[in-house]
Symmetry: C2
Amino acid sequence: MKHSSDLEFWFDFSSTYAYFAARDVNALAERAGVTVTWRPFMLGAVFAVTGASGLSSTPLKKDYAMTDWRREARRRGETITFPKDHPITALAATRAFYAIEDHDPEAAVGFAQQVFAQYYRGKLDTNDPAAVAALAAHVGLSEGNVFDAMQTTRIKSRAKTICEEGIVRGVCGSPFFFFAGEPFWGWDRMPMLERWITEGGW
Amino acid sequence: MKHSSDLEFWFDFSSTYAYFAARDVNALAERAGVTVTWRPFMLGAVFAVTGASGLSSTPLKKDYAMTDWRREARRRGETITFPKDHPITALAATRAFYAIEDHDPEAAVGFAQQVFAQYYRGKLDTNDPAAVAALAAHVGLSEGNVFDAMQTTRIKSRAKTICEEGIVRGVCGSPFFFFAGEPFWGWDRMPMLERWITEGGW
């Protein structure tokens, strides 16, 4: 169990660029020799501050984003199947993450990877507590324990507090990274982020 | 004078990411063996469709963008000085571009590069017809001719029509590129754009 963390990976489970980032961030950190802390948050809370909307509900950007996501998936030799109601507000999945992280941060990362994988196969309602808790079994945890823990006031409040912390620290979109305080917004900033870490900034 | 064009570079003069793109796009095209058509447009017209706002007037994103722009400028060993009223609506500069392009497309690109260079030294009001026309002298053209031409109904209408064409074709931000119809949004998509051109897509 790692306590120190150099790199923070902030994301919303419904963010397709975060899905791509989630596939790559651990490998990036390993190459760069740093640890990563995963920080799911509610992008809707950021939108309330910025006044922005999600790509999927913005004219023009909506069509472009779909083209871009499918193009990047093809580059990876994959297909993405969006859930019918995409983007789903992933409050249950976010709370479940923090319920799991409370006891086992590495399992929480494995859980988050499962959430992304199932959601982008169109197979998971990330706001259904039972569906989300069921995924805990994939990382060797008790579904019942996670289901109970994610609904406690303490965990709900922790998820909310982290989200508020993100906004205070300037998280303005998803995915978002901090390395030793330096902010990087977007999946497409990952090459720059990696250079920044390995070169020690500039 | 080149008539054929494989790559289109759409941008608003007040877009800082377009400024970076403008520095790199011709070299990219040369490496990839394609021609470029520069297409200044009014990002405000896109915002009217998307409902988005400029980065500089969006809470959270505003601070991040300033950090990101200064970081990229440092990486290039440069500094950027934003005009006091940034972002200025660059209608005059956009019209002047099309007035020049009408007779000399290559001079128009040189003019656009001058506009970017002066604007990001904080030295140009891109919406002042006289100030903008004065830059025409830098690319060997008559200031008076450009000043007159940019205010004709034909050129004003041409600038407007191109902007409308961009929106119809899905231009949702700045910079924006098309290669043989394939859209790429953002300065940070330029590496992918270059791969796309050289690999013939995927």
